[in-house]
Subunit: 217 residues, 2 copies
């Protein structure tokens, strides 16, 4: 790791907190040794809350740049999930469409796949998503082979992680893919994280009783 | 879970992002079904950054209440770690001293133990901390039995988790302790988290080559 790594992360109202902070804390940690630039991107610079419904416990994070001002050539663009993905996220979908052709890799965590599916970047690909929301998400990608038993799926430069903490494993795999196994091991040890290194090692498809959904178009 | 659960979490400049958001996302999730109140507590209501040194990638979170205004009777008070624990956290230590006698349980994650040790609440107890920082932290608690091989330690109402992601396991154990195994299992499945249920199941003491430190006072 010598060249600066540029990471973008989208945040919208009702995103799932750990979908975002799992992956980002890996880059927080790596940035102690390597040059990294991070943009936390939203429609405005106002704090963005994870709150989905009234009374729910939530946190608010401060974006660092707007969708309009964000670069479109990140090495990695991270898109968290959460109940907010079911609401008005059109500006984020438009940004993904616009940025994808010039972005290195994209990674959705959990139901962040809703935005990827709507942007069309899962067409003709294999992907996975949150296992509890599997049957709600898969109809959005009729041209996608949805893999039930996967901690994450990598298809070309499109990475899709399963629910919430699977984003940590997918991010470590991305780091390994780009910088080698030692960097990923060091990061996992730093986080004291009992990493899943095998993308097919997923107990949660069985917990939810789901099966692969094949493309219908 | 019928009575409202009140959770407090301290945030200071240079806290470790995932130390906080791992535990909190468990309560975000539980709060979809059960009444929970969360205070994110700092010296002021200004956003608090995880940044420790210039150039490091960081996130900023918005506190919801000040140390001065925070209640002192939370059911659970969470204290994250991070490099910021080595700086001026005196007001936080004072708050812990003041609140501890009327707080249900306290949980430190990672080097959040620095604040607990300085507040004196680890005296005469068993505790653990981040394994990479073990030898830096343990001298702060000369009256503490520091356990090297532990994912977390519970001693009375004082919970101490090992590094970063161990906070997720300790929080799930706290939920199990208070509300039963099914609530903790449901939360882990929701997070798609491969939980460690045994507090002694810790591979990272061996990674760092550390051993227990016994009290000297």
């Amino acid at each position: 790791m010598t060249a600066k790594l540029c990471i973008g992360a989208l945040v919208f109202p009702g995103f799932q907190s750990l979908d975002l902070f799992g992956p980002l804390d890996i880059f927080n940690t790596l940035s102690l040794k390597h040059p990294i630039e991070l943009s936390v991107i939203s429609t405005s610079l106002d704090p963005v809350s994870t709150q989905w419904k009234e009374g729910q416990v939530a946190q608010s994070i401060v974006p660092t740049c707007t969708l309009e001002d964000a670069r479109t050539d990140y090495d990695l663009l991270i898109v968290p999930g959460g109940f907010g993905t079911t609401k008005d996220v059109d500006p984020y979908v438009d940004y993904i469409k616009r940025a994808y052709p010039t972005t290195g890799s994209v990674l959705s965590v959990c139901t962040g796949t809703r935005l990827f599916a709507r942007a069309g970047i899962l067409d003709g690909r294999r992907a996975t998503t949150n296992k509890n929301a599997f049957n709600d998400v898969t109809p959005l990608g009729p041209k996608t082979h949805w893999v039930a038993k996967a901690r994450w799926v990598k298809d070309g430069n499109v990475w899709t992680a399963a629910g919430i903490t699977a984003g940590i494993d997918a991010t470590l795999a991305w780091v390994e893919d780009k910088y080698g196994a030692q960097q990923a091991t060091d990061a996992a040890n730093w986080l004291e994280y009992k990493r899943t290194s095998d993308p097919d090692d997923d107990p949660f498809a069985a917990v939810r009783g789901i099966e692969d959904v094949l493309p219908t178009e």
